[in-house]
Each structure stands twice: as structure tokens, then as C-alpha cells.
């Protein structure tokens, strides 16, 4: 009697899966995503093989392209590192976009008004510190309200993004406007630009240092452990005597500071000026980078590079084959969907009905 009520497919949590199989599933999901990514190309009459090879060529084939690709990957990687501790804590900080922007604003202030007064190295240090401070404070606001009144942090951090962007829009057309009517903030002088190392701005060194920092912080320190406990269960953390509110604020301070540093890298290493699209969606894309890497900082390097290759390659694709560059967003989206789905097959197993019966008989 009960047999008829057993659903056709049941789900069960899987016990540990071997590392090899996990990677196999993930690689399969990437391949499926690339195949699905052919669809829009085929529908619009582009040969997908040619398109993919242009993407690879346009992003990796020459040192110049490779450098540009790395330059795109730096903010993604840095910002994913910023987000990881928050997400580990299940504090959904989707305000990195705004934290980057505020970091960029503060560093731009020094770049614009102190470039001729302070020598190169101290100026850059001041810019980084002020960027970190701005990002940290911007992140602290929602964290404070979350800690104090349990205000929904997802929605709060989201709103903070647009407030930050609005502030830049105002600076752009108002107090910091260069030539009147241009709506543009002047370019930084050389004194306020990041030095190049191996042909790319030194932001990549900072990003790699942050990768190691995050690994040590999350896995080897007491604070990292506290974050992990809160992520598993806020109540457990409370019973263990942790000050959950304070830990949330501290984590957001660190997260915001790193995002702010990313903002500094973007303005002084890539754009050399500030405009309202300074974060350019990095704050959002990096969330997916962090999540798909399972918050593992070393995996973030790979994922951010994949996304950067797509973005840089798609620009080449647009100029060479007249395929709109937004194909990068589409493939990125499909890639994210597939990789998100693959986690399901790693964590759960499907049990079919007939198999179940055999087990029952045995």
C-alpha cells in the first residue's frame, strides 16, 4: 500500500563524494554551459566554433590581450575575496558595488587634490587607506542595523549601492567636474597612478596577497572560525558566548575595506578617473565568483579568469564578427546557471522508485 505512495524520484543528501567525481561534475557543467552558449550564436547565424576560438584568441593569444584580460580579472578576484567572509557567515552582502564605488570616491579625492603635494608612494598609500576606510564605513552601516535591529541586509546593502552611485553622479556633474559642462572628472596625474608590474598594474599582486590572506584568515584564525560557526547556526554561536552582532560588524568592516581597496585599484590602476559606472557590475559578478568557488580563495582565481576571458574575448568578437558583446553576459549567465545546478548533483542523489524496492527486498 505504501509503495504506491513512494514518489517516482526521491532526493537524499549525499555523503562525501570523492574529489575526482566532484571535479568531473563541475567540468561537465562547464562543458554543458559552453554548448548551451552556442544557442544564441546559432540562432543569429554565427558559427559557434569560430566564435569561441575568437573569444580565446582575443583574450589569451597575445601578451597584450592577456594583460587586458588579467586587468579585467583583478577587480573580480579582489571583490570575490571581500564577499567570501560575509557569505560564509550567511550575511548576504550584495553591496560590494557601492563599497567599491565609495572606496573609489575617497581615493579619487586624494588623487585629484593632493597629487601635486604628496610624493608618489605615500600618496598611493593614503589613497589605499582612504579607499579601504570608505568601503569599510559604507559596509558598516547595513551591518550595524542588522546587528541592532535585524534589518534585512540583502535589501539594505542593495540600496546602498545606488546611493553610492548617485553620489558619484553628483560629483561628476558638480563639485569635481573638470571642464564645465563635460560631466567628467579630470584624469589622474601620473603621480596618482599605480605602477606597472610585468605590464599590468600592480593590483594583481595585491589581489594575490589577498587570496593568501583570505585563506589564512578563514582557515587558521579564531575570527575565521567564529564566522564559520555563525554561518552554520547563529544560535550555536550565541550559546557559545560569541557576540554575534559585533562579529557581523567586524566581518563587514573587513569585507568593505577589501572592496574599497578594489575601488582604489580600479580608479588608479585601470580607469585613471572616476565616473558613476566605476564598479561596472563587478560587485554583482564577483558574488557569483565567490559562490561558485565555494568561497575557496584559490578557486576564485580560476573562476574570475574564466569570466574575464569571456568578457575580454566577447569584445573582440564584437569587432571581428559583429556579434553583440553582450554575448559575454549571456554565456556568463548560462555558465553560472549550470554551475549552480551542478552543486545540486554534488550534494544530493536521486533515488528512483524501482531501485528502492530492490533495496527493500534485500
Amino acid at each position: 500500500m505504501s509503495e504506491t505512495k513512494t514518489p517516482l524520484i526521491r532526493l537524499a543528501k549525499r555523503a562525501e563524494m570523492s574529489k575526482g567525481r566532484i571535479y568531473l561534475i563541475r567540468i561537465c557543467s562547464i562543458i554543458i554551459a559552453l554548448i548551451l552558449g552556442c544557442l544564441p550564436m546559432v540562432l543569429t547565424g554565427t558559427n559557434p566554433f569560430a566564435a569561441y576560438s575568437v573569444i580565446i584568441q582575443g583574450s589569451l593569444s597575445r601578451p597584450v590581450y592577456l594583460k587586458q584580460t588579467i586587468r579585467t580579472a583583478i577587480p573580480l578576484l579582489g571583490c570575490a575575496i571581500a564577499i567570501a567572509p560575509c557569505f560564509k557567515m550567511r550575511f548576504w552582502n550584495i553591496g560590494a558595488e557601492g563599497q567599491i564605488t565609495m572606496g573609489a570616491v575617497f581615493s579619487t579625492y586624494f588623487a585629484l587634490f593632493y597629487a601635486d603635494k604628496i610624493p608618489h608612494a605615500p600618496l598611493l598609500i593614503i589613497m589605499f587607506l582612504s579607499g579601504a576606510l570608505a568601503g569599510a564605513l559604507w559596509a558598516l552601516i547595513p551591518a550595524f542595523f542588522k546587528a541592532k535591529w535585524n534589518t534585512n541586509e540583502t535589501l539594505f546593502t542593495l540600496m546602498m549601492n545606488y546611493i553610492a552611485i548617485g553620489i558619484v553622479a553628483w560629483l561628476q556633474g558638480g563639485p569635481w567636474e573638470g571642464r564645465k559642462g563635460s560631466q567628467l572628472i579630470p584624469m589622474f596625474s601620473d603621480n596618482a597612478r599605480l605602477p606597472m608590474v610585468l605590464g599590468v598594474n600592480c593590483g594583481w599582486i595585491i589581489a594575490l596577497v589577498l587570496v593568501v590572506f583570505l585563506y589564512i584568515y578563514m582557515n587558521k584564525t579564531k575570527q575565521g572560525y567564529e564566522i564559520a560557526v555563525i554561518g552554520d547556526s547563529v544560535n550555536t554561536a550565541r550559546y557559545a558566548g560569541m557576540n554575534v552582532g559585533w562579529i557581523m560588524m567586524r566581518t563587514m568592516l573587513i569585507s568593505g575595506a577589501i572592496s574599497g581597496i578594489v575601488g582604489t585599484i580600479i580608479v588608479s590602476g585601470a580607469n585613471f578617473t572616476l565616473y558613476k559606472g566605476v564598479a561596472n557590475g563587478v560587485g554583482f559578478t564577483s558574488i557569483t565568483v565567490a559562490w561558485l568557488s565555494q568561497l575557496n580563495s584559490f578557486a576564485m582565481i580560476a573562476i574570475s579568469m574564466i569570466l574575464a576571458v569571456l568578457e575580454k574575448g566577447a569584445n573582440t568578437l564584437q569587432t571581428r564578427m559583429q556579434v553583440p558583446a553582450s554575448i559575454a553576459d549571456i554565456i556568463t549567465g548560462i555558465l553560472l546557471f549550470c554551475m549552480l545546478s551542478s552543486e545540486f548533483f554534488i550534494n544530493y542523489k536521486l533515488i528512483f522508485r524501482h531501485k528502492d524496492k530492490k533495496e527493500a527486498m534485500a
Binding site: 550584495i94 557569483t288 546557471f337
Partner: protein, 327 residues
């Protein structure tokens, strides 16, 4: 006085766009699913809505009828939005992926698709995609006869809008009745508040979540189409559309998840977004006006959490996936 009336009329035009986005997202969030992909959904709605009307006109030629073009645009936007949300629903409801991350992925994907379709149409049609003036007028026509519009003051404020505004208001009222007066609506609310309780009470949680999120996505997508067809003048304009979806997410909070509040809330937000064009207040730079909606939303968010009154909270399970096996 006439400045004020012009401001209100313009606010309603932009507010209508937001109203669809918001109503759709309210329906989605009521089921406990926070879909941050509204931005992408509205892009897709805009692009496919325009495509629907454009290719219909291309096929029908001069005989193209306005009402039919409007219906086709609404339908194609709705279907596009449903398809986009269906991806989100499948990933979050069946495959249990994280809602925030999936929503953001949908935003990236949807803006990509919208842009791609818009650009592709532009390139394949030789540079410029726009409807004929005949259809443009149909999309922007007022519904009421000029007798009503000519009533002093009240006429323009209440009767001079496009059909989309009145449809949105009707939709808001219907949604209100749906949540308050029908069993299905109450079940849906229950699912959003506590899926495990609803499940125990015999409500098919999965079905409600799927229907709520996909239909909600369809409604949101109509907003994107309305933007392209009214404010943008029937031309693909991704710059104008960017940020509208996020504003709709903000507005849902501002309305504290109540459809009727969306009517005046969206007009208010619309006013804040376009005020810089019409009213200048000394010492307040115009760009600062544009962040007002977000600041107001933050204040509402903080106040509701501080007061902690039970009827003004987000749906209790918002953002959390439901695992029956983990009860």
C-alpha cells in the same frame, strides 16, 4: 499649478513601469522567493516586447492594428519574463540553489539577452528599429475621450494616461483581492511565511512557488516593455532601462509587500526619479534627487525592522529555500 500637473503626469508615466516590476516582484516574494533578477527580467521584457510589436508590424504592414500590437507586445514580454523566471524557479525551487546568487546570475543573463536581442535587431534591420508613428501613437494613446481629459486639473491627473497605467491599477487591485479574499492567495501567503507548516497542512508548496515566481516574473517583464514603448519612444534603449529593475526591488520594500501601496508608491518613486527634470530646489543638486528613492527605501526598511510590527515584515521565509527532507 500646471507645472505640478505636468510633474504628476510624467511621474505616472514612469511610475507605471515601476508598478509592473513591483507587482510582479511582490507576487514572487510572497511565495518566499527573493528574485533579484528583476533587472534582467525587465530587460528581456523590453527587448522581446519591442521585438514582438516590431515583427508583427513588419508582417502586417500598414494594416497593423494598434490594439493587436499592444496585446502582442504584452504577451511576448510576459512570456519572456516567465521563461526567465522559470530558470530561476527551477534552480532555486527544484535544485535548491542559493536565491541571491541565482537572482544575480539571472540579472547578468537577462540584461545580456535583452541587450543581445536589441542589438541584433538593430544590426539585422540595418541600423534602426522603431515602430511606425501609427503604432507609436497607439501605444501612447490615452484611453479616455477628450471630454474627461479636459476637466480642469483632475482631468489630466486621472484620465490622461495610457492603457498600461489603468491595466496596472486593475492588476494591483486584483492582486490585493487575490491575497486577501481568495483561498489560493492565502495559501500562497502561507507558503511564503512558513513553507513547512503549509506543507504539513497539505498545500503543494512547490506548485505555489513555481506559479508565483513565474507569473510574477511575467508581470515584471511587462514593465520593461512599457518603458520601451512609452518613455523610450518605441526604440531599444538599454541605458534608460538600467537600474529600473533594482528600483522595483526597492519599491517592493517601500510598499511593505502590499499591492495597493504599489499604486501610489510607484507614482511617488516615479516623481522622485523625474523630479530633477521639472523642479529645481536651490542648494539641492539635481543628481541628489535621484538617490531619494533609495534613501527613502532604506528608511522604510530600518523603521519597519525597528518597530518590528508583525504585519509589516517581509514574508518570513524570504530568501530561504525549502527542503522538505531537512525539516
Amino acid at each position: 499649478m500646471s507645472t505640478l500637473i505636468t510633474l504628476i503626469v510624467a511621474a505616472v508615466t514612469f511610475g507605471t513601469v515601476l508598478m509592473y516590476g513591483t507587482l510582479g516582484e511582490i507576487l514572487t516574494e510572497k511565495t518566499g522567493n527573493l528574485n533579484l533578477g528583476v533587472e534582467g527580467i525587465m530587460y528581456m521584457g523590453g527587448a522581446f516586447g519591442l521585438a514582438g510589436a516590431f515583427y508583427y508590424e513588419k508582417a502586417a504592414g500598414a494594416a497593423a492594428s494598434g490594439p493587436l500590437a499592444i496585446s502582442i507586445a504584452i504577451l511576448s514580454a510576459f512570456v519572456a519574463g516567465m521563461a526567465a523566471s522559470a530558470i530561476y524557479s527551477f534552480l532555486t525551487i527544484t535544485l535548491r540553489a542559493n536565491q541571491n546568487v541565482t537572482g544575480l546570475a539571472l540579472s547578468i543573463f537577462g540584461t545580456g539577452i535583452g541587450q543581445f536581442v536589441g542589438e541584433f535587431m538593430r544590426v539585422s534591420e540595418g541600423g534602426y528599429v522603431a515602430l511606425s508613428n501609427h503604432l507609436k501613437d497607439a501605444f501612447n494613446a490615452t484611453v479616455f475621450p477628450s471630454f474627461f481629459i479636459n476637466i480642469p486639473v483632475v482631468g489630466r491627473i486621472f484620465f490622461s494616461h495610457t492603457v498600461f497605467f489603468y491595466l496596472a491599477v486593475i492588476l494591483a487591485v486584483l492582486m490585493y483581492l487575490f491575497f486577501k479574499k481568495t483561498r489560493t492567495g492565502m495559501y500562497l501567503t502561507a507558503v511564503g511565511e512558513s513553507p513547512s507548516t503549509s506543507d504539513a497542512a497539505g498545500i503543494n508548496v512547490t506548485k505555489y512557488k513555481y506559479l508565483g515566481t513565474t507569473i510574477g516574473g511575467g508581470i515584471s517583464a511587462i514593465g520593461g516593455m512599457v518603458y520601451i514603448m512609452t518613455t523610450a519612444g518605441c526604440v531599444w534603449n538599454h541605458e534608460g532601462l538600467s537600474g529600473v529593475g533594482w528600483l522595483a526591488v526597492a519599491l517592493v520594500i517601500f510598499c511593505i509587500w502590499r499591492p495597493l501601496n504599489a499604486i501610489w508608491g510607484s507614482v511617488l518613486f516615479g516623481a522622485m526619479m523625474i523630479m530633477y527634470l521639472r523642479v529645481s530646489i536651490p542648494f539641492i543638486p539635481t543628481e541628489i534627487y535621484k538617490i531619494l528613492p533609495y534613501i527613502v527605501t532604506v528608511i522604510v526598511l530600518v523603521l519597519t525592522s525597528m518597530k518590528n510590527s508583525r504585519d509589516k515584515q517581509p514574508p518570513a521565509s524570504l530568501g530561504l529555500n525549502y527542503f522538505r527532507e531537512e525539516r
